[in-house]
Amino acid sequence: MNLFCVGLSHHTANVQTRERFAGSAGAEHTLRTAGCAEALVLATCNRVEVYGASEKRVSTDEIAQSLLQSSEVGDGGHTSGLPFYRYEAEKCVQHLFRVASGLDSMVVGETEILGQTKKAYQSARASGAVGPCLHRLFQRAFRVAKQVRTRTEITRGSVSVGSVAVDLAQKIFGELGNCKVLVLGAGETSERTARALISRGVNDLRVSNRSNDRGQELAQRVGGQAVQFDKWPQQCREIDILITSTSSETPLLTPTNLEPMLANRVDRPLFIIDIAVPRDVDPAVNEMEGVYLYDIDALRSVAEQSLAVRRQQIASAEAIIAEHVADFLEKVSSELNRVSRITGHPPVADSSLHASQL
């Protein structure tokens, strides 16, 4: 049985090429007709990959054609010249383990890919396209991904500005359900950050904008409450998180005007996310007790720190993967030898454990 992986990803293909294969997740049936004994399609926004096992070699072109036929676009165009890669046997095992662990992702260490891989596996299994070969391979891949996540810091921290802000809010307040949030300025970034906070449990969200109409629109969109712009300073006495992104030329918050607002809230920290350029909050505010100020550069710097740590962890993750690849191949090999002893067929030599034996 040949074990292989054919696909294209953000490494090899641009989004125009990748979107031609959108919706090809259900191509397993076509692939089986093309000669694959087992097939699984992993289709995400960054990659389209086919993992298959077949008695005879199925060409890359045949697989690409099967994918195109099943895609939503269904353009049925030429597949020649498309930047498909192909991994066989050991390389295929290694590639899947790297993909599931997030090492091959655009953002190294992201964990969404593991969920997508599991979903693809479940879907293929439900349709009967996964047999013992792929089942075993994918089960091991999930184990490897879990081990990489727990033994290394590859998933540490957040790597986007929005998620850094939300993570920090959780580090300060724990549960966000009781947090009161004020969004100052109805910009796109502040809306994204507000939405991210809502997704983590924030219930009380207030929006204040110079143009009251826009403020109300945003409040409606995110399920918050609009506040008149001249009333926002009073809100600072109550809120826990302030997201500010106004187009003000001068700082709206300085230690002098913030101090009286903090007088009765000594126990509760205030987390300020200043995503405005020029900044809405005087940097000296960060020196005040219980106030944590993060401007866009600070958020980016935290994201970069996390990314740097993730990159440092790649070597450790690769070592875990290499260990598992060797172990997986060895186990498959010894099993094949055991079967061959029982059936009387010639045993498989360790060194010859490649595509055909798998």
Partner: protein, 264 residues
């Protein structure tokens, strides 16, 4: 024989310290079961030591500075085992183990395990007074450790330099709630300890009474400041560290003065 148990216990705690230090150095600190197991094992050996020593003495092993230090280290480990699970157990262990190693190491190295020339008679109310007061010290020690954790996190948040350990610390507000609960626990136990000291039926040395009341006043002031003067959480965390350092110094004084008395 009992000293060997104590050495093994110290090695267990030291293992937790070394593991944490290596992980932090490598920048890959991850809370795991190792610290909890190492501290749990160390706690068992501590308990075995105190049991043997107690049987030999025929009373609670609090007859000299050495035993006081060990009892204090045991109290710290006990409170950690009780409150640790609620506040990211293994990470608090990472901060607790160094304190226990310091206390036990000091007790083992310094020539302070001096046996009384005459056997100290058992006195249950006096033993209750001393042991409850030391368990209260254990709670104050944990409040101090939580204070260190708070300040570490506050510093990293302020400077925007988030190290590996930051991602494993409990949220600031949870940590502060833990500090306050530990302060209250320690304060209530300590009040009970001091109050019971007046019902031992023995005259109390003035130095001991003054030192004990000074520690009580210190923690009463922190709690009073917290509730009536609205001291900021960061200052409460810093005061927990200062308070415990002062209390430890006074404990030394109390115990020294008690060497001339029948019990510490």
């Amino acid at each position: 024989m009992d000293r060997y148990l104590l050495i093994i216990s110290t090695i267990c705690f030291l293992a937790a310290v070394v593991r944490t230090a290596i992980a932090l150095r490598a920048g890959v600190f991850r809370p795991g079961r190792f610290n909890f197991l190492a501290i749990g094992l160390g706690f068992l050996f501590q308990t075995a030591f105190m049991s043997i020593r107690g049987h030999a003495l025929g009373r609670c092993p609090l007859t000299n500075l050495f035993e006081v230090f060990i009892f204090l280290a045991w109290s710290v480990a006990l409170i950690y085992m009780l409150v640790g699970p609620a506040y990211r157990l293994s990470l608090m262990g990472a901060f607790t183990a160094p304190l226990v190693v310091l206390l036990q190491g000091l007790a083992l190295i310094a020539p302070i395990d001096v046996r009384h020339p005459v056997k100290v008679p058992a006195n249950s109310s006096l033993e209750f007074h001393a042991s409850v007061s030391l368990v209260a010290y254990g709670a104050f020690a944990l409040a101090c450790i939580a204070g260190v954790m708070y300040l570490v996190q506050d510093r990293q948040l302020k400077t925007h330099q988030l190290r590996s350990i930051f991602y494993h610390l409990p949220p600031l507000t949870d940590l502060f709630a833990a500090i306050i609960r530990l302060l209250w626990l320690g304060f209530i136990l300590y009040t009970a300890g001091i109050a019971s000291g007046f019902f031992t039926g023995q005259p109390l040395p003035r130095v001991q009474v003054v030192a004990a009341i000074a520690v009580w006043l210190l923690y009463a002031a922190i709690l009073q400041g917290r509730y009536f003067r609205r001291i900021a959480p960061k200052r409460v965390a810093a005061l927990c560290i200062i308070g415990f350092s002062a209390a430890l110094t006074l404990l030394w004084g109390i115990t020294f003065s008690a060497q001339t008395h029948s019990v510490p």
